[in-house]
């Protein structure tokens, strides 16, 4: 199938050729695109094995270089000053974004990068429309429409996601009455205009109205989405950015754009599906059903006057010092406290005393897919100590101590036992199977979903209150003295 796919660009590249035949120059360009396509697929394939991933992605970067060099040979390119200017400016901005952004800022860094990709696609789409004096053909209009719609809503949607993750837009869902009805109406109107434009492309005013409305949809789509649902949204925007690029390829008849756009779109789509599944929620529910306002009365009443057990760092340090099997469950709280280095240091202390430490990573822990893995890798935790939900869930029984650091909903047993709970059905980490559970937490506040966590009232569960970073530092000091 691969071979079949990769032969296609050559035959499909006629759009770039001026006549019915294909000049030597065009063949050369198409061959660089073919090479780029192959290298991109190999690069993504290399991501299936951590040890060879870096080399694989370096090959993909080489592919990108080839595609750029090939494009510069294009006969339509007659002036280079703006090209060079754009390349230099882009490099000047992109280099620090690549080299100096800390790993802790990765969710917002990823979110904003979708904006740049979508911006490029949208601008190409707008210019293409503008350049067709009497309006583009119906087919081209369809491609341009998808391009600017996906592009425009990704621009503003990504910017909003960036704002929420960076903290200058509130992370709590912003909702109002009739919100879904308004959004759906706007969406239907935009699509109506799009359909009309396909039939009758030469209506610039309608075209620009469609762009503006898509920009508005991006804003309205992300406003009601809360922090913990960000992994789904960020992946979805990843997918849209890809689809915008693919549509660009259709509009200008460029196969390498279509291949990359399809890869990107498929990847983002797959990630959003995985994230939704990990929360046991449908796409629609994430996008249209902000759930911060879930009723918690019943659950709270049921817990009544039960008391949580609070422990001191000293007690926990003793437990950890003699534990053979420790499992750490990190959550968004670890990212907020930026205490991944302390976590690793504590783990080395446990290992020094002969214990083993594993890390249980829930798919939606944090604010983007793989968030916890990146933070722990940054703190030099070896990746073979990081376990997925399925891999680790039957190992909790053997664990002497489970340390829950800044995680809440992903360890809430109500997801299994309480059909009335808003998180019911979400796959969780079975921490309650362990001998002893210690939860590092700032206060008794409920998790993002607003649900009380029964785990905290469990017989074998103890709470170590305080800022996670200072609690961990205390634990490190104490364990050295045991």
């Amino acid at each position: 199938m691969l071979a079949l796919l990769l032969q296609l660009p050559e035959t499909a590249g006629h759009a770039a050729a001026p006549g019915p035949g294909m000049g030597l120059r065009d063949v050369g360009i198409q061959l660089t695109y073919l090479a780029a396509g192959v290298l991109f697929i190999l690069g993504l394939y290399s991501l299936t094995k951590p040890a060879r991933a870096q080399r694989g992605m370096q090959l993909a970067a080489l592919g990108m270089l080839l595609a750029v060099i090939g494009t510069l040979l294009h006969q339509h390119i007659v002036r280079f000053e703006w090209i060079i200017g754009g390349l230099l400016l882009g490099t000047a901005i992109g280099y620090p974004l690549g080299m100096f952004v800390p790993m802790t800022a990765m969710p917002q860094r990823i979110a904003i990068s979708h904006m740049f990709g979508a911006l490029a696609a949208t601008l190409v789409g707008v210019a293409e429309y503008q350049l067709h004096a009497a309006g583009p053909s119906h087919a081209t209009m369809a491609a341009l429409g998808f391009e600017v719609m996906f592009g425009a809503l990704t621009i503003t949607g990504s910017f909003m996601a960036f704002g929420k993750l960076q903290g200058f837009i509130t992370g709590t869902p912003i909702t109002w009455r009739g919100q879904n009805a308004i959004n759906l109406t706007l969406f239907a109107a935009t699509f109506g205009i799009f359909a009309y434009l396909i039939v009758s492309p030469d209506h610039p005013v309608l075209f620009y109205a469609m762009v503006v409305m898509s920009l508005a949809i991006g804003v309205l789509m992300v406003l009601p989405i809360g922090g913990a649902d960000m992994p789904v949204v960020v992946s979805l925007l990843n997918s849209y950015a890809g689809l915008a690029a693919a549509a660009t390829g259709f509009a200008i008849g460029n196969t390498v754009l279509i291949v990359c756009g399809a890869l990107d779109g498929a990847s983002g789509f797959l990630l959003s599906v995985l994230m939704s599944k990990a929360m046991n929620r449908s796409f629609g529910n994430v996008l249209f059903g902000a759930f911060g306002a879930a009723p918690t009365g019943a659950a709270a009443a049921e817990i009544g006057d039960r008391q949580v057990r609070s422990v001191t760092a000293e007690d926990v340090a003793v437990q950890l010092a003699y534990a053979r099997e420790v499992i750490v469950v990190p959550g968004y709280g670890m990212a907020v406290a930026q205490c991944q280095h302390q976590v690793r240091e504590l783990a080395s202390q446990v290992e020094k005393r002969g214990g083993t430490v594993k890390y249980a990573i829930h798919p939606v822990a944090g604010r983007m897919p793989g968030h916890m893995n990146v933070l722990l890798a940054e703190a030099n935790v070896a990746y073979d100590r990081l376990y997925d939900l399925e891999e680790i869930n039957d190992q909790f029984e053997q664990a002497d101590v489970v340390l829950v650091i800044g995680a809440n909903d992903v360890v809430n047993p109500a997801a299994k036992s309480d059909p009335a709970s808003p998180i019911y059905g979400m796959p969780i980490l079975n921490v309650d199977a362990a001998q002893s559970i210690v939860v590092l937490k700032r206060s008794m506040a409920a998790g993002y979903s607003g649900v009380e966590n029964e785990l905290f009232y469990h017989d074998r569960c103890a709470m170590l209150f305080g800022d996670a970073k200072s609690s961990l530092q205390q634990l490190i000091t104490d364990i050295k003295e045991v």
């Binding site: 993504l44 992605m57 080299m99 952004v101 696609a121 350049l131 460029n254 779109g265």
Partner: protein
């Protein structure tokens, strides 16, 4: 013509789907930044727009598009590389190595 392009799109999406299904959750963040860098391929379309001399507006839009796409290409590949370097090597005892020697073949139990 359009149908050939559709072929390319659908088959590439299939390849993408099956390759990416195999990417472990461990590398989902690098996967996102990698696909992002790759989607900087919009640069190809932007370059033609910026250099084709088809009027001031087209050139200006092309210039901005080249800049935006280059940010993604340069920044995207660099940051993916930085992340993957962290996942590349490991030392015995649960410590990942920076640039030191990697321990041979420690597999997960």
């Amino acid at each position: 013509m359009a149908i050939t392009l559709l072929f390319v799109f659908v088959l590439a999406a299939f390849v993408g789907y099956f390759v990416i299904t195999k990417v472990p959750p461990l590398l989902h963040t690098p996967l996102m930044s990698a696909t992002n860098a790759i989607s900087g391929i919009s640069l190809v379309g932007s370059l033609v727009l910026a250099g084709a001399d088809r009027g001031t507006l087209a050139t200006l839009l092309g210039f901005i598009a080249v800049t935006a796409a280059t940010i993604n290409v340069v920044g995207g590949f660099l940051i993916t590389d930085r992340m993957l370097k962290m996942f590349k090597q490991r030392l015995p005892g649960g410590q990942a190595g920076g640039s030191e020697v990697a321990a041979p073949g420690q597999e997960k139990p």
